[in-house]
């Protein structure tokens, strides 16, 4: 599903040039659960953003679902993102001015899903995340764990092939964090492909494969036995 070859990304500020990704070659198959780990500033988010088509690499090749997307423009990337990719962020990134329902509804709106169908699907997704009763509330009225569940509902509602999560438990206590990890695992078991950036060894144990990044380079890749055996 994802294949990158020698992916590089550099940021140029006035004085310095930072090489955030250095020749990253990564292959992710469909229905894999991959955790990306590494110290702060090693390029995890940068990688995830490129893989999630939010950003574009400086050089290298990136084939997503059979398309070479490395040179895609923003609007081409938007077209692919739409419906195919779901994002979960550390800071939830819900829109304050929209209710829980409306936040989750947003992707369907842009997919031009008819209204009645939208309603059913949103309520179903919220029910699954056990926050159906909060549909009419605004994000600030919810706890962190609840907000992240809304964000996950929003990420999964278009039934994306790929879910990208950047430290999804980073702002949560362990109980809420576990709940989120369980939800992701469920999605994985239902057939989704999941890429997750995390700091936490505990969270990484949920993944199928762990990619270790250091200074923009992949240093080790390891298959998670526990996970494999669980399968």
């Amino acid at each position: 599903m994802i294949k990158t070859t020698n992916l590089c990304k550099s940021f140029r500020t006035e004085e310095v040039e930072t090489l955030a990704l250095n020749k990253v070659s990564l292959h992710v198959r469909e229905n894999e659960f991959v955790a990306i780990m590494g110290p702060s500033g090693c390029g995890k988010s940068t990688l995830l953003n490129i893989l999630g088509l939010l950003d574009r690499p400086t050089s290298g090749s990136y084939v997503f679902a059979g398309h070479e997307v490395a040179k895609f423009t923003e609007s081409q990337r938007t077209r692919i993102r739409k419906g195919n990719l779901g994002f979960v962020f550390q800071s939830f990134n819900l829109i304050d001015t929209l209710t829980v329902f409306e936040n989750v509804e947003l992707p369907l709106l842009y997919l031009k899903v008819p209204k009645s169908e939208r309603k059913d699907r949103v309520m179903e997704a919220l029910g699954r995340m056990k926050i159906g009763h909060r549909a009419k509330h605004f994000p600030q009225q919810l706890s962190g764990g609840q907000q992240q569940r809304v964000a996950i509902a929003r990420a999964v509602i278009p039934n994306p092939k790929l879910i990208l999560a950047d430290e999804p438990t980073g702002n949560l206590d362990s109980k809420n964090g576990n709940e989120v990890m369980n939800l992701l695992t469920e999605l994985y078991q239902e057939g989704a492909t999941i890429l997750m950036v995390t700091h936490s060894d505990h969270d990484a144990q949920f993944a199928h494969r762990i990619v270790n990044l250091f200074d923009g380079q992949i240093v080790t890749e390891s298959v998670n036995r526990e996970m494999t055996t669980r399968e």
Partner: protein
């Protein structure tokens, strides 16, 4: 989708009440100001617009070498001759002020309740006219026969308004007006009130044939406005080119005899109000420059409001970046977001426009008062043109001002948002700076402009005029008089001068503040006519200089003479020599730098049809006979011939005004029982000349105040966002130990730089414009730095106040609160 956007927009507005309130009130005020000002300007431009085919025949004459004066009025023979000789001229009408025909007197009539009312004819706009005038100007006759309304001598028609004023509810036709208790004139018709947007200005018309003169043959009496209408399809230019031959044929003899040249021109009637500034205009023309000025103010005010909108919207970017980023992540295309932001902008503009309509309805009365005309009425709501303007403003403003923020806001790359770095890359900050500079520049220009206009007004109203304007009370000279009038006036002067509060009294044909109507030429005795210089004169008696405290710089004042026998042309076989007093400018124009040298030199001036010889007995200092817009003119005083005075000026003790007036009134009533007693104060009368400037000044003041208020609103809004952007910096500084006072100035410092920058940009422009405007006044206040520095300081103060109110809030936040979620 629209419905969805509406819902989201409304929620956004409700959550950002201050933002929304500032935006909407700014827009509403800006749009209101714009609509009112443009309304006023278009009213001024609407004068006589439907009269495409009508022209006024103007007269240009020269006396000296290069002294040309163009008059709006012409000789009475011109119109009839044109109709006879030019087949393309369809109709012709002449109209002339009765005052210029020496119609003076008391008008009396029976009122509604049978009582007799008296009034001075001078107070009416009373003209002699050809009946065709009504045709040329499409003035409907409500009563009477339009074909013959002014055909016969003493036919008289009055406006509907005047009919109502004089006769109340009685049928005016057939009623009589009495002039000087011996002439009874019957009203033969009533015409519809003149529209407000015409340069014509009359309430009563009497047939021109009432004037017992052979008008068709008179080519030396330039007091008759002459209008013609052309046959359809005529090219006015080709007619105009024939005018010079026309003048030659008819006036050659007169021109040679009197040594002057004349030219005639055709002036489209629909251009008169805006472009014509000739001598003898029937009503004051608009000042085109002022109208442009008002249009600029209108654009400025609405510009400031729209800039507010842009600035506030883009300054919201911090808060909206996340929304944009997320929407894009989940699949929003840029155009959907642009569409969303445009919707918001249109909604705000819609509410702004709606509110401004309410404001306009409320402003109708005060606005009309200010404009001095019924420009606005509720009927504007019925005019499609008005709605077109409104819809244009709504769509134009909503889309234009909405587009930029929409592009900025929708332009966020989702990546920057998700990385949480967007606070470092606030979009549109430079554009916003540029816009803020523009706003400041506009505000500065308006304040400077207002300040300069007021400074000039103050200058004009306070400069030494060269005569005493205050404490001078002016009466109409009595008109219901018999052969004893001169004696009676003498008695009147003597009697009231006994009163300790009355200093002196004088009679004169004109008074300062009233343009001198007798325009002619003067030359040294023995010189050619071509060496003449222009001259205006009036007759005053021996108390004039004393009463007006006009300084005599050489020679002496008039001594008392017998007015009744004063003016024979020939005396004992020789031409009579008239004692005259000239002003210094005239002495200089005649070649005498030292006024003493011209004393008892002889001069020649024209009075009526004849040249007369004058003996310069005195030279007075130049005084401002008219507003300071005008330079000093050549003015000459002659002693009154017989009884020709129009005014009595009485110098009174400023502390005892009422007793003085009572004494004057008693005496006047006793001596001139049939004359209405009206008086006014000369200083007020004189200052009326500044009404146009006062109006302009007031409008400037009002609308620049408004503009500044709107701009301050915007600053207030932006200030709160700048504060928000800076909140982290402020917090960190506080953690590091900065005091509240130290962090307080972080935000305003930047702003002051912007203000200075805008000053650098705009001050040269204002300087240039102001210099031009001031140069339109012969006497003007000198320009100085303060005209620009004070406005700059004022803008800074206002900006600081609106910003400080916001940054104070920021500086008191708990640093932990703003640092925590980073």
């Amino acid at each position: 989708m629209l419905q969805y956007h509406l819902k989201i927009a409304l929620r956004f507005f409700l959550r950002n009440k201050v933002f929304t309130l500032i935006n909407i009130s700014g827009l509403a005020l800006g749009i209101t100001a714009f609509l009112l000002l443009t309304r006023y300007v278009s009213f001024e431009k609407s004068y006589d617009q439907n009269l495409e085919n009508a022209f006024r025949v103007t007269l240009e004459s020269n006396y000296g070498e290069d002294f040309f004066a163009t008059s709006a009025a012409n000789h009475p023979a011109v119109g009839p001759a044109m109709v006879n000789e030019f087949p393309e001229v369809e109709q012709m009408a002449r109209i002339v002020d009765t005052k210029l025909m020496n119609v003076r007197g008391i008008l009396s009539y029976e009122t509604d309740n049978g009582a007799r009312a008296l009034s001075n004819l001078k107070d009416y706009n009373f003209y002699f006219a050809d009946g065709i005038l009504l045709d040329i100007f499409n003035i409907p006759l409500l009563q009477g026969d339009p074909k013959t309304a002014l055909d016969d001598p003493y036919d008289l028609i009055i406006s509907a308004r005047m009919a109502k004023q004089i006769f109340g509810n009685q049928d005016p036709v057939g009623k009589t007006l009495t002039i000087n208790s011996d002439h009874e004139i019957t009203v033969t018709g009533v015409f519809q009130d003149l529209p407000q947007n015409t340069h014509l200005n009359f309430d009563i018309l009497m047939s021109l044939s009432s004037l017992d003169f052979p008008l068709e043959t008179i080519w030396v009496w330039p007091e008759f406005y002459t209008y013609i209408s052309l046959k359809p399809g005529t090219n006015p230019e080709s007619l105009a080119s024939k005018m010079s031959a026309f003048v030659d044929i008819h006036m050659n003899e007169i021109m040679t005899e009197h040594g002057f040249k004349a030219r005639m021109g055709l002036q489209p009637v629909h251009e008169i109000h805006l472009t014509s500034h000739l001598s003898k205009e029937m009503s004051p023309s608009a000042n085109k420059g002022s109208l442009h000025f008002l249009m600029i103010i209108a654009l400025f005010v609405i510009g400031i409001a729209q800039i507010n909108f842009i600035n506030l919207s883009t300054s919201k970017s911090l808060e909206r970046a996340r929304e944009v980023g997320i929407k894009k992540v989940v699949g929003a295309k840029r155009y959907t977001l642009i569409y969303q932001f445009l919707c918001e902008s249109l909604i705000l503009n819609f509410v702004g426009v709606a509110l401004s309509l309410v404001l306009i309805s409320l402003a109708i009365k005060p606005f009309n008062n200010l404009a001095g005309a019924e420009i606005l009425s509720l009927s504007i709501w019925l005019q499609p043109g008005f709605w077109i303007v409104i819809i244009t403003i709504f769509l134009g403003g909503g889309l234009l001002a909405g587009l930029y923020p929409a592009f900025v806001l929708s332009g966020y790359k989702p990546i920057t948002v998700l990385k949480g770095k967007f606070h470092k890359t606030i979009q549109g900050a430079n554009m916003r700076k540029a816009l803020v500079i523009t706003q400041f520049a506009i505000a500065l220009a308006l304040i400077s402009g207002t300040y300069i206009v007021y400074k000039q007004l103050y200058f004009m109203q306070n400069k030494e005029l060269g005569f005493q304007a205050d404490q001078n009370l002016v009466l109409n000279a009595p008109i219901d008089v018999d052969s004893n009038v001169l004696q009676k006036i003498k008695v009147f002067k003597e009697e009231i001068s006994r009163n300790p509060f009355i200093n002196s009294t004088t009679q004169s044909t004109d008074i300062p503040g009233k343009p001198l109507s007798t325009v002619d030429a003067i030359r040294n005795l023995g010189e050619e006519k071509t060496n003449s210089v222009p001259l205006k004169f009036m007759s005053v008696d021996h108390d004039f200089l004393k009463t007006y405290k006009i300084e005599l710089v050489a020679g002496e004042d008039f001594s008392e003479e017998d007015q009744s026998t004063f003016f024979p042309l020939i005396e004992n076989g020789d031409p009579r020599i008239h004692p005259v007093i000239i002003n210094r400018s005239t002495a200089k124009a005649l070649g005498y730098a030292d006024p003493v040298e011209i004393i008892h030199k002889k001069i020649i001036f024209k009075y009526g049809p004849a040249d007369r010889i004058g003996d310069v007995i005195g030279v007075m200092a130049d005084y401002h006979h008219q507003s300071l817009q005008m330079g000093y003119e050549n003015i000459m005083f002659i002693y009154p011939d017989d009884y020709s005075s129009n005014y009595l000026t009485i110098n009174i003790d400023g502390h005892q005004i009422q007793p003085a007036i009572n004494a004057i009134k008693n005496e006047y009533k006793k001596l001139f029982p049939h004359d209405p007693f009206n008086y006014f104060f000369l200083d007020m009368y004189f200052n009326q000349q500044y009404n146009a400037e006062l109006k302009l000044g007031f409008i400037c003041l009002l609308f620049s105040g408004l503009a500044i208020f709107i701009a301050a609103l915007g600053l207030f809004g932006i200030g709160s966002h700048m504060a928000l952007e800076k909140i982290k910096e402020i917090s960190i500084r506080k953690v590091m130990g900065a005091s509240t006072a130290q962090v307080l100035l972080i935000i305003p410092k930047k702003l002051l730089v912007l203000i200075l920058l805008s000053g650098v940009l705009i001050i040269p422009v204002v300087y240039f414009l102001a210099r031009n405007w001031l140069n339109g006044f012969a006497f003007h206040t000198p320009m100085n730095m303060w005209m620009f520095i004070l406005p700059l300081l004022l803008v800074m103060a206002i900006a600081l106040l609106s910003i400080l109110s916001q940054s104070i809030k920021t500086t008191y936040v708990n640093p932990a609160d703003s640092l925590r979620n980073d």
